[in-house]
Structure formats: structure tokens, C-alpha cells
Amino acid sequence: MNPVYYLYLASLLFTIGAAGVLIRRNAIVVFMCVELMLNACNLAFVTFSRLHGNLDGQIIAFFTMVVAAAEVVVGLAIIVSVFRSRHSASVDDASLMKL
């Protein structure tokens, strides 16, 4: 089948992720949306790799996963500490600094 459809799917996922980031309040969910975007990228990479018949894309996908994992580590650490000090994971509550 035509790999282009996967690209459409990838962009769709990416957009959904982005929308989630803009819409959702809970930090964790927002973060998950970012992960979704990253995975969308992965899909795109793999598709293109298939398309071009070289494996760079697939390799990059692995790298991305690693990076995502690292981000999870750091991100959750930060979010959790915030949650513990504020008893809320809402990104909108974290608005001490403005203007």
C-alpha cells in the first residue's frame, strides 16, 4: 500500500499531540501529548526510511525513543516535585510569574 498514508497518519497524530498540549491542563497529560508528537515523528521517520529505501530513518527512530525516555525521566522528576509542593499538577496553577 502507499506509504504516504502513514505520513498522513503521522501528521494527524502530531497535530493531535500539539492540540493536546494546547488544550489539556494536567501537566502529565500535556507531557504525554508531547510524547505523542515525538512518536508521530517516529512514524514519519520510519515511513520515509521505507520510502527512500535507506535505514537512516529507522535508526533515528531509535534515537528518538531514547531521547523520549530521557525526557520522561527529567520531565516526571520536575512535574512530580511541582506536584508535591503545590498538590496540583495543573499547568495553569503554575502562574506565579507573569507580565
Binding site: 498540549v21 494546547l22 488544550i23 500535556v30 499547568v91 502562574s95 507573569k98 507580565l99
Partner: protein, 631 residues
């Protein structure tokens, strides 16, 4: 010999410098030093004069070039002097009368603790005035011109603690400045026309210049003359200038400075001769002022102001004569000299009277002073006779000549001018007689002032009377001396040029007419002030009288139009500067502040908002790039 010219100026200048910078330690000798230096200058003048008499023809003109003043590409101004008969006449008048008035002041200012400074100013004035008449180019003349202005400013305002004096001084300087504006423009015109402003080249090549230019120059010079010589429309300052000490009024505002305008016009004769329109204006100004001053003189009760009016009117005569061209220049100067004598004498007399009357100036509070101060009475009387043109005395000759010349202008102009001059003579006779009667005749009208100390009229000290006597002598004989054999004419002719104007009526008739109007004027005055006692407080008087008392409303005009208008203008401009010019800038700053304040609100602290802006930004970025490619 010519090297002495600088000395003429240097002597009083030195005096001024020493006296003004010398400090209190000079207080005791200051007045003597000042007088001495004035005298030195006079002596030098006499020496030069005798030397000049020794020479003949063009040899009589001396030049002294000190150094180049403002050397700039295409622009040459030198510190250089030119001494010819005209200048010499003035030198003698200035230094002579000046010295006398120095002597007079020694007595007059005796009780003033700032006498040293007074003499410093007087010396300064002498220096400046001599510079004015000795300069060999218009720019240097301008320096002297403003110099005398400064001196007169300082002397009018000598009693600065009196606000009236300070104001009068300021007024005098400002009005003069307007005139000076004319002089500077005239000089600029000369520069663009002739490329120079030295007397020789300019006056030598008037023939090649267009009449338009010459007329312009002439009018500008006239403006200057009006300022300095208190001619209509710039006459308003002279009356107030009487706030100054009387010797000042005598020297500066009667004998010398105010006649500088006449000098300027006579000196620039070549220009005026080639610009008849300008000449006409000069004549008209002279005629108008002549009457204006005379009328004002009739209404004033302040003795000095009355004399001031008369000065104005007499200078009107001179300007008129100068405006007549070669037929008049000589007589203008001659009248100037004689007037220098008798008017100075009169002022000194007035000063002497005030000296004896606790500085009372209102003539209605005098009366019958002749028995209290005989010397003053006699000298003043002689001066009086001279000015009204009593046969045989100075005024008679000089004024008579001017009237003749006026008629000799020819045509209706001639008749009109002649009539005006005659009328002027009549009025002169009237107001001078009035002054005479009010002051020295009738019964005493002075009472104790509110503090209860009545004036004790007494004769003034020797130092004051002697100058008065000398001046009286001058005012008696000068005219005759000059006129016999047309001495003065021949003396000045080489400089000013002269051709005898044939009057439509014979000289005798003119003289006769003059006598008639003279008698009429005196008689009228006697009827009004001699026969019946004079009220101490001035009656309301006719409309004209009241107008004349207020200088024919000319001051009110100035006040309303210039002063008030000016104040409004400046006040509104200050407002404009603050709100508009400044406001624009501050406004811009403020608007940026406001914009900043609004943009700030976007930073609302919500991470999601920031994400939105990023997302939107990206969208725009992509759209823009695609668009770029599309177009």
C-alpha cells in the same frame, strides 16, 4: 600730528577704565581725575584744531590707521580714524561742553556716594562719542554709536534704586536698539553694494550704485538717526531719559549724543544727495518731530521734560535742514553747535534750580526764583533768549538760516516747510517763555512737603555756576561768530558741500516773519502765565493739552501694541514650547509606555498561552514560506 587723534579717545577711555575698575580707594580723587582727562582730551582737540587751521584744502583731513579690526576674506574693517572739519567741530563741542559739565557735576553730585562711578560713566560717554565722530568707517562708527547708547543707559539709570530710572534706562536702550537695527542693515546693504563700508570708498562711489539701493541705505540710516536723535517715531525714550542726573541730560540728551543722528545724515550726505526719496522722508520726519516736540514742550510742567521736548523739536530743525541737502547741511551743523551751547546751558540752569529746590521738578511749584538765584537766572535767561532766536544771539542766526533754507527748497514743499519751521519758531518762543515765567517770575509757589521741610532756594556753588556762565557766553556769541562772513559755511563746505539756496522770498522777509512769530509766541505765553497767577495744580486743560502731557499718547500706543502684545506673544510661546514642542516628544515616549503596558498583558503566566503563541508562530512561519514560494 594725526597720531594725536587716538589720544583724543584714549584719555577719557583710560579715565573710564581706571574709575570703574579702581574701586573705593579712588572715591576721593575720582571726580578730579575724570575732569582732568576730559580736559586733556579738550586740549588735544584744540591743538589739533589750531593745526588744522594752519593747513588748507584737503590737507585739513587727517587719517590715522591703528590696526585691522576684523580681517576676514572679502571683509575689511579697520580701527582707523578720520579727522576733518566736520569731525573737528564735534570734537570741540563734545570735549568742550563735556569738560564744562564734568566741572559742573563735581558740585552737583557732591552728596552722591557713587560719584566716582558717575564720572567713570561720563568719561566712557566722551570716549564713545568721540569714537563715533572720528571713525573712518561705518562699522567703527557703529561701535561708538552703541557705546554712547550704553553710556546713556548707564547714566539714565544711574539712580538704579529708583524703579522709574531703571525702566527709563532700559527703554532708552531698547528704542535705540531698534534704530541700531537700521544702522546695521544699512551697513550690510553698503557691504553688498560697495563691498566695503569705509567712508571714502562708499561716499566716493555713490554715483555707480542704483538709486533703489541708495534709497534703502538712506532710509535705514534715517531709522538709526531717529533712534539716537529721538525723532518720530522713535522719540518716546527722550522724555523718560530725564530720570537721569541733570548734567547727563545736559551733556547727552541735549548737547551731544542726541545730535549724533544729524551727524550721521550729514556725514552720509553723498548717499542722500543721490537718493531724493530718502531725503524727502528725512525732511518729513524732521518737520513732524519739530512740531511734535514743540507741542509736547508746551504741556509739560516738569521743567526737564519741557526742555526735553524742546530738544526734540530743535533736533527736528536740524534733521529737517540736513534733509534739505547741500543747502542745509551746514546750517544743520551750525544749529547743532549753537543748540549745544544754549540747551546745555538751560539744562544746567534747570539743574541748578532743582539743586536749590530739593530736586523739585514741577515748575508750578517754583515761581519768583530770580531773586534767590540770580546767576542761574541770568545764564538761564540768556540761554532762553538764544533759543527763541532773539536777534543777535546764537539761536537767531542758526535757526534763521534753517528757515531760509526751508523756503529755499522751492515749490510747494518749500512753502510748507517754511511755514512749519516758522510755526515751530512761534511755539518755541511760547513754551520757553512759559518755562521762564513759571520758574523765575510770579510769586513763590512752593510749600513744605509732607515731611514739613520747605525748600530754601539758594544759588549753586561756584563749580556749577562757572560752567553755566561759560555756556551762556557761548550761547550769546557763537551764532554771530559763525555767521559773520559765513565763517562756518566756508569751514564745513569742503566736507558737506554747500550751494546757496535762493529762497522765493528775500532773507529780510524771512527774518521779519521770524521776528513776528517770535513776538506772538512770547506775548501769548505772557498772557497765559505772566499776567495772572499760576495754579499750583495743573488745570485739566484742553484735549490737546492732555494728549501733549502724555507725549501725544505715543507711549500709550507703544504700551498697548508693543508691550502688551509682546507679553501675550511670549506667554503663549512659552505655553507652546511646553505643550506642543515638548509634548510631542513626551507623547511619543508615553505612547511607547502604553503599548508596552498592553503587550505586557500577553505574558499572562500560563504555559499554554505561550505554547499557543509558539504554535501560531510556527503556523505563520510555514504559511509565509509557502506563500513566498507561491508568489
Amino acid at each position: 600730528m594725526e597720531n594725536l587723534i587716538a589720544l583724543l579717545i584714549a584719555a577719557p577711555l583710560l579715565g573710564a577704565a581706571v574709575l570703574l575698575c579702581g574701586g573705593r580707594r579712588l572715591d576721593r580723587v575720582g571726580h578730579w581725575l575724570g575732569t582732568l582727562l576730559a580736559a586733556v582730551s579738550f586740549v588735544v582737540g584744540v591743538v589739533l584744531f589750531s593745526d588744522m587751521l594752519g593747513k588748507s584744502g584737503d590737507g585739513r583731513t587727517l587719517h590715522q590707521h591703528l590696526f585691522s579690526w576684523i580681517p576676514v576674506e572679502g571683509f575689511q574693517a579697520d580701527i582707523a580714524f578720520q579727522l576733518d572739519q566736520l569731525s573737528m567741530t564735534f570734537v570741540l563741542l563734545i570735549t568742550g561742553v563735556g569738560t564744562l559739565i564734568h566741572i559742573y557735576s563735581i558740585g552737583y553730585m557732591e552728596h552722591d556716594e557713587r560719584r566716582r562711578r558717575f564720572f567713570g560713566y561720563l568719561n566712557l560717554f566722551l570716549a564713545a562719542m568721540l569714537l563715533l565722530v572720528l571713525a573712518d568707517n561705518y562699522l567703527l562708527l557703529y561701535m561708538g554709536w552703541e557705546g554712547v547708547g550704553l553710556a546713556s543707559y548707564l547714566l539714565i539709570g544711574f539712580w538704579q534704586h529708583k524703579p522709574s530710572a531703571a525702566t527709563a534706562a532700559k527703554k532708552a536702550f531698547l528704542v535705540n536698539r531698534v534704530g541700531d537695527m537700521g544702522l546695521s542693515i544699512a551697513i550690510m546693504l553698503m557691504f553688498t553694494t560697495f563691498g566695503t563700508f569705509a567712508f571714502g570708498p562708499v561716499l566716493g562711489s555713490t554715483g555707480d550704485a542704483t538709486e533703489g539701493k541708495l534709497t534703502a541705505i538712506g532710509l535705514m540710516l534715517l531709522l538709526a538717526a531717529c533712534g539716537k536723535s529721538a525723532q518720530v517715531p522713535l522719540q518716546s525714550w527722550l522724555g523718560d531719559a530725564m530720570e537721569g542726573p541733570t548734567p547727563v541730560s545736559a551733556l547727552i540728551h541735549a548737547a551731544t549724543m542726541v545730535t549724533a543722528g544729524v551727524y550721521l545724515i550729514t556725514r552720509s550726505g553723498a548717499i542722500f544727495n543721490a537718493a531724493p526719496d530718502a531725503q524727502l522722508v528725512v525732511v518729513v520726519v524732521g518737520a513732524v518731530t519739530l512740531l511734535f516736540g514743540a507741542i509736547v514742550g508746551c504741556a509739560k510742567d516738569d521743567i526737564k521734560k519741557a526742555l526735553a521736548g524742546s530738544t526734540m523739536s530743535q533736533i527736528g530743525y536740524m534733521i529737517l535742514a540736513a534733509g534739505l541737502g547741500p543747502i542745509g547741511y551746514v546750517f544743520a551743523i551750525m544749529h547743532l553747535v549753537t543748540h549745544g551751547f544754549f540747551k546745555a546751558g538751560l539744562f544746567l540752569g534747570a539743574g541748578s534750580v532743582m539743586h536749590g529746590m530739593n530736586d523739585e521738578v514741577d515748575m508750578r511749584k517754583y515761581g519768583g526764583l530770580r531773586k534767590y538765584m540770580p546767576v542761574t537766572f541770568v545764564t538761564f535767561g540768556l540761554g532762553y533768549l538764544a533759543i527763541i532766536g532773539f536777534p543777535g544771539l546764537s539761536g537767531f542766526f542758526s535757526k534763521d538760516k534753517i528757515i531760509e533754507a526751508a523756503f529755499a527748497k522751492g515749490g510747494t514743499e518749500g512753502w510748507i516747510l517754511g511755514a512749519v519751521t516758522l510755526l515751530g519758531a512761534a511755539i518755541t518762543a511760547f513754551y520757553m517763555t512759559r518755562v521762564m515765567l513759571l520758574t523765575f517770575f510770579g510769586e513763590k509757589r512752593w510749600q513744605p512737603d509732607e515731611k514739613g521741610n520747605a525748600p530754601h532756594p539758594h544759588e549753586s556753588p561756584r563749580s556749577m555756576t562757572i560752567p553755566m556762565i561759560l555756556l551762556a557766553v557761548g550761547s550769546v556769541f557763537a551764532g554771530g561768530f559763525f555767521s559773520i562772513g559765513d565763517r562756518f559755511v566756508h569751514w564745513l563746505e569742503p566736507v558737506t558741500g554747500y550751494h546757496h539756496g535762493e529762497a522765493p522770498v528775500s532773507a529780510a522777509t524771512v527774518t521779519g516773519a521770524t521776528m513776528v512769530v517770535l513776538v506772538l509766541g512770547v506775548a501769548l505765553a505772557w498772557l497765559m502765565y505772566g499776567r495772572k497767577p499760576v495754579p499750583v495744580t495743573a488745570p485739566r486743560g484742553s484735549l490737546l493739552t492732555r494728549a501733549a502731557r502724555r507725549d501725544l499718547l505715543q507711549d500709550d500706543f507703544n504700551h498697548v501694541v508693543l508691550v502688551r502684545g509682546g507679553e501675550h506673544l511670549t506667554r503663549s510661546l512659552v505655553y507652546v514650547d511646553h505643550t506642543l514642542v515638548d509634548g510631542v516628544v513626551n507623547g511619543t515616549a508615553a505612547s511607547f509606555g502604553g503599548l508596552s503596558g498592553r503587550l505586557r498583558k500577553l505574558q499572562n503566566g500560563y504555559a499554554r498561552t505561550y505554547a499557543v503563541s509558539m504554535f501560531g508562530g510556527t503556523a505563520v512561519l510555514i504559511a509565509a514560506t509557502l506563500l513566498m514560494r507561491a508568489v
